[in-house]
Amino acid sequence: MTHPLPWTRAEVEALLPDDAARAWLAEALADAACVPTAPPTAPAPYAADTWELRFAAAGRHCGHDNADAVRTLLLTEAQAGPETLTRLYRHGSAAERRAVLWALPTLVDGPHALHLVEDALRSNDTRLVAAAVGPYTAVHLDPHAWRHAVLKCLFTGVTLDAVASLARRAAGDGELARMLTDYAAERTAAGREVPDDLGRVLTLTGEEPKEL
């Protein structure tokens, strides 16, 4: 089951600063919309479609604060499948990769884009880690990797508000509770603060906190 897009076209248009940006968006979306109906071409190793270049340049034309929304909308308009998403992720800057991650729940029905989530979770860039723990991950990531993702958020300072379906997935997870308790013990032993979020997710597991 796919999720609705985080931003609708009307919402994105309302975000844009001026008519020039809105005109740019209209053109870019029209360009992207041609992709699903265009006859298939052998993917050239280096050349990018114009809509893919627009995907890269979105922040400069629509404002950097709106780039996530604009890029996600472009991906949907192009009906980008796992192959295109993988290429855009691999060729993308951190901001472009984040947009691909945002679009996963809308565009990919099934676990075959998990390699992108796993790549982002291997990074140490908090912008990517935060985008990698969204609804797509909540549905598809296996329990072991998901627990490590939660721990990585605590470790790198990503708020657990970013983790989709946190309560549902944490409930009854005794192994997560053990990992959290151990991590808290390690922090305490080193004389360091235990992150507030840790206690919150430990409570969500419903497991007894062991001498925190």
Partner: protein
């Protein structure tokens, strides 16, 4: 005092450097892609490097309150290795990225035909992508290299006002200034300029269109050279406004030609509190 280091290889530097640079007034850097000391043998090594300059390094710099942009190119030394040449074909998709503010550093190393081809092709790429170009002058046979560089620039469709000639010195400054290009000086121990010679050049040629950088990298170098030049300028009687022009406004104007420069990096909270992001790797 605000400082913009227009040429520094932060990939080779530590977080201590970032901290010291911030304390010295550095708020913006441009990192040109270049040779890593160890020759690469595969285009994919370049792509990982470009990705680091577009992703990880700006993220790292932002943790220390410094805006990070980059210039991308196939450098002259490795342009001589046919195994690396496919990088030229892949550059267009990288030059579309937000943080890329010029093509560079390009130029000559040993002045070979392969270098001729790479310089000319990349000047065209700059023109086609609305980007200026950072062109270094060679370490060996510098003056002849400068002449050849200027010939290729004039043959290209990139106007001289969009070219920064770097690693200049006393023997090349006059000719470079006559060309109408922007003038870059690297203050780098032993092999390039030093602070006092830099001040003499500024006294002789003025502060217009002159940029000063540390070119700090994996060699014996100093990421605080920009600040040291600023101090030497003040000690020699230059005013605060002259310092600001050379060490901030000039680099901001040159790289601003790209239309992609963003200098508004907010100072991160907890900069010195050892938070987990700053702690880095697991």
């Amino acid at each position: 005092m605000r400082i913009f280091d227009p040429h520094i290889h932060m990939t080779s530097r530590t977080t201590d450097d970032y901290e010291a640079m911030y304390a010295a007034g550095v708020r913006a850097v441009v990192e040109p892609s270049f040779w890593l000391g160890q020759p690469r043998t595969d285009p994919a090594s370049f792509y990982d490097y470009f990705d680091a300059l577009l992703g990880w390094e700006p993220f790292r710099a932002a943790q220390y309150g410094i805006a990070h942009h980059c210039t991308l190119a196939l450098n002259p030394k490795e342009a001589n290795d046919p195994r690396c040449r496919p990088v030229l074909d892949a550059l267009p998709r990288y030059l579309a990225k937000d943080c890329v503010v010029a093509v560079g550093e390009i130029g000559y190393d040993s002045m070979t035909p392969a270098e001729d081809t790479a310089v000319a092709a990349q000047l065209q790429l700059a023109a086609a992508h609305g980007l200026p170009a950072l062109v270094h002058t060679p370490h060996r046979d510098k003056l002849a290299g400068l002449h050849r560089t200027l010939d290729v620039v004039r043959e290209s469709s990139l106007p001289v006002e969009r070219v920064l000639l770097d690693h200049l010195n006393e023997t090349t400054v006059e000719h470079a200034k006559d060309s109408g290009c922007w003038l870059g000086f690297s203050v780098y121990p032993d092999t390039k300029m030093d602070e006092d010679r830099m001040v003499t050049i500024l006294k002789t040629y003025g502060t217009e269109k002159i940029l000063v950088n540390s070119a700090a990298d994996w060699g014996k170098s100093d990421p605080l050279k920009t600040r040291k030049v600023a101090d030497a300028m003040l000690a020699a009687g230059f005013g605060e406004d002259d310092v600001d022009q050379v060490l901030w406004r000039n680099p901001a104007a040159f790289y601003g030609l790209s239309g992609r420069l963003r200098l508004d990096v907010p100072k991160p909270e907890g900069l010195h509190e050892g938070n987990s992001v700053l702690r880095g790797g697991e």
